[in-house]
Symmetry: C2
Subunit: 242 residues, 2 copies
């Protein structure tokens, strides 16, 4: 791989001369995503991907310069899932809400995304499409371009950050190898101790009085509430139309 220093997306897949490659980057990426979805990001190794595809491990390096490249491709591949169809409807609030919910759904489908997103800027073609899309929803509002990126950034920040919080426990349970019940059992005595110590009166109130955390759709409702407030914030600061 002579041009390993170049960005993955700017590197041609086929060179043209020798025998035709038997695999494609997309195929490898799809296999990797399937593994990460089913067994978690820790289970994703080059050997595992090779086994899944029935090839030798070293063969993968004909397509990718490094595992990092593969991770970049995985992230961009899933970005295609929420950069898709829905176009501006005219109601910017609806549009942004839809975008946020789609983005959250994608993360739920691929929990490993949150681990990869840190330290990996989204510059793949599909990610760029998604950003273009989000900007389009805001275009009719009359914000200037600087504010527009800020709105999009803020929205994405909220969605990403919220989803991370949502998935953290879920992933911790999976990684621990035990079931949800055993995980809870291992943690509740500690939490009880903290609450009983009395130095966290408000946390105690949360654990005792709050309804939301105990509700099945708590994450759902929390997300909705936070999102609406965020949209309220922008709505209260719309530019004055000329």
């Amino acid at each position: 791989m002579d041009d390993a220093h170049t960005v993955v997306w700017n590197r041609p897949e086929r060179a043209g001369k020798g025998p035709a490659p038997s695999r494609t980057r997309a195929e490898i990426t799809a296999a990797a995503i399937a593994i990460a979805d089913a067994e978690g990001i820790d289970a994703l190794s080059m050997r595992r991907v090779a086994k899944e595809l029935g090839t030798g491990t070293a063969s993968l390096y004909r397509y990718l310069a490094s595992k990092d490249d593969l991770l970049d491709l995985m992230l961009d591949a899933v970005a295609a899932e929420d950069g898709g169809p829905p176009a501006p409807t005219g109601d910017w609030r609806d549009d942004l809400r839809t975008l946020a919910y789609r983005s959250r759904a994608t993360i739920h489908r691929h929990p490993w995304m949150t681990s990869l997103a840190a330290g990996r800027p989204s510059l793949g073609p599909n990610s760029l499409d998604a950003t273009e899309h989000a900007l389009a929803a805001l275009d009719p509002l009359g914000f200037d371009i600087d504010i527009m990126i800020t709105v999009v950034d803020t929205l994405h920040a909220f969605v990403r950050g919220y989803a991370i919080g949502e998935l953290a426990q879920q992933e911790a349970v999976r990684r621990s190898g035990v079931g949800n019940q055993e995980w809870m059992d291992a943690h509740t005595p500690y939490l009880d101790k903290v609450v009983k110590a009395g130095r966290h009166p408000l946390l105690a109130r949360v654990i005792r009085d709050a309804e939301l955390p105990h509700a099945a759709d708590s994450a759902e409702r929390g997300f909705e509430l936070g999102l609406e407030r965020l949209l309220d914030g922008w709505e209260a600061n719309l530019p004055v139309r000329p």
Copy 2:
């Protein structure tokens, strides 16, 4: 380590019988943080920590059941940095803003946090302190407890999510091993190509017309703007005082 299934923070550090341990968990955690700060999270290995402390690698497992335990401890240790002094001033907006900025500063000091936070619920004693603290700032407002956690969750989600975006490129550059300039050089031809292709008119506008991305303090200002809008959203929905 007989009780490896128990939570780290609930496990006694010393057993009481044999010779006194020569290291402490805090010491090990501090060394690990120092390494991660200086050389990145990828450079953090058990052997590296052991070398730093001048001990054998296997010795670390007298204090920790696994590397995951160490990562948990690292996260909780830095959580102490922003769970600290500033108490409610009476102005909830100021309080939340301070909290957000402190939290962001902590993440900037320890960029590896963002990689670890995904898949690792913050349940350490210091994280709990920080949450209690944030709730205290909201207490006088008259929200009910369910809304209060939502506000705190939303704020943290925004800060985390925004910081991840901020640090992603920075981390990518560091991991690539080359300097910032080389990294830019490797990416600009690709971005130029995308813009020239013409299917991303709004992105093109961002790259050409926007001032914010080119400003030195762009991340700073974006964060401030987003945060203020978020606070606006909650301010517009304060509970009616009885």
